[in-house]
């Protein structure tokens, strides 16, 4: 059972629709005990980093951290990926999980923000999440802040600068783009996650 964590930050039905389409068994939940009992975790989210505040004081943050450190396959999408980092310039008061060692930043003033649309992925070989995804495959992004390229980056995109499109460390995966809205490429990535 895959738990899709509901903390009030958007696009849950899109994520659920995509997993339903793949015939995966999913549950949308805001309960820490359901997260703890699930075999895999998806942390979605769009919007402001401050909405991650909803994970605090509810037991969800602890349940998510425990699941990740126990080696349960964990996928953070968009804001959910940013949470896997140390934090974000967007809201300095909220701490991320710190699994990836960097802070999320704004795009340079030379480009329009938010970054909205289909951008190509520079895919690094060996990623389990991106298995079978072609070099320069297109995925859909919509975000104003980005994670910098770190050692665990498995795919990067360019928008004013090079930033992390996907990261991977053990069973913890993060994607800045929206696989649930990235057509067949995105569905393949979610299928890979189901099969990890």
């Amino acid at each position: 059972m895959i738990a899709i964590v509901d903390y009030g930050a958007g696009n849950l039905s899109s994520v659920k629709n995509a997993f339903d389409y793949l015939d995966a068994e999913v549950v949308v939940t805001d309960r820490p005990e359901t997260v703890a009992a699930a075999s895999k975790i998806v942390l979605p989210g769009v919007g402001h980093f401050s909405s991650l505040q909803a994970l605090e004081g509810t037991g969800l943050r602890e349940a998510l951290l425990q699941s990740a450190s126990a080696g349960k396959p964990f996928l953070g999408i968009c804001l959910g990926m940013q949470w896997l980092f140390e934090g974000s310039e967007e809201c300095a008061e909220i701490a991320g999980a710190g699994i990836f060692p960097a802070r999320c930043r704004q795009f340079p003033a030379s480009v329009k923000s938010p970054h909205v649309g289909w951008n190509s992925l520079d895919v690094r070989e060996g990623s389990r999440l991106l298995r079978g995804i072609a070099q320069n495959a297109f995925v859909y992004y919509t975000h104003s802040f980005h994670a910098p390229v770190v050692a665990e980056t498995t795919a990067a995109s360019e928008y004013g600068l090079r930033f992390a499109g996907a990261v991977e460390r053990g069973n913890v995966f993060g994607v800045q783009f929206h696989p649930e809205k990235s057509g067949d490429v995105g569905l393949s990535i979610l299928k890979n996650f189901c099969e990890v």
């Binding site: 039905s13 402001h48 938010p114 909205v116 649309g117 297109f138």
Partner: protein, 253 residues
Amino acid sequence: MLTKRIIACLDMDGGRVVKGVRFKNLRDAGDPAECATAHARNGADEIVLLDITATSGNRRTLLDAVRATARSLFVPFTVGGGIRQLEDAAAVFDAGADKIAINSAAVRDPALIGKIAGRFGSQAVVVAIDARKAAGGFEVFVAGGRESTGRDAIRWAREAASCGAGEILLTSMDRDGTQSGFDCELVCAVAEAVSIPVIASGGAGSARDFVEVFREGRADAALAASIFHFGIENIAQLKRELHDASIPVRWPC
């Protein structure tokens, strides 16, 4: 590299997709969910569903269509028409939309933009502007193009962006449905005035029109309806032509 988006728009009336010329003479063009997935398969980067009768029609019909469409559509999905308050937007998101488009209600109450953006994020709020050439500029129209507002389109676009809009969907009423080309002057004026993406709409007739609106109009995305419904222009073919003209597009996709 970020690509230019080709967006297929479905105008819906009473649960069916329709298309008219200059907002009039509506013709039936099919079932929303079927049309949407067919366009996505064909290479559409995004789908917009506009309920053009929503101001007086049945909301349940719209929500049912949104739900049915979202179930098997895996590209971004925007829904507009008759969204007057936060609760209307919430219901549409709950049914599976990724973004909502607001038009008349935002003109009446610009604070609504911030209210919806505050709860669902700016990326989920598209402000649709219907504009027509007027003395000294472009004027904003509401209520499906029936009511003039006396407002300047460029100034309104800037205000909408500062209120928290994530994108502007800009329709030239003069060009809508005519297939005589986008209004590049209007699109460029708005694209230069705001720092959020601008979707050009109204007038698409050929691949050359798209090339022009991306180059001269500086549009981030272009939307069309009629040419895609009746097979006049195939999206895959359009993208191949844009690619050949060195416009970055998601192709092959």
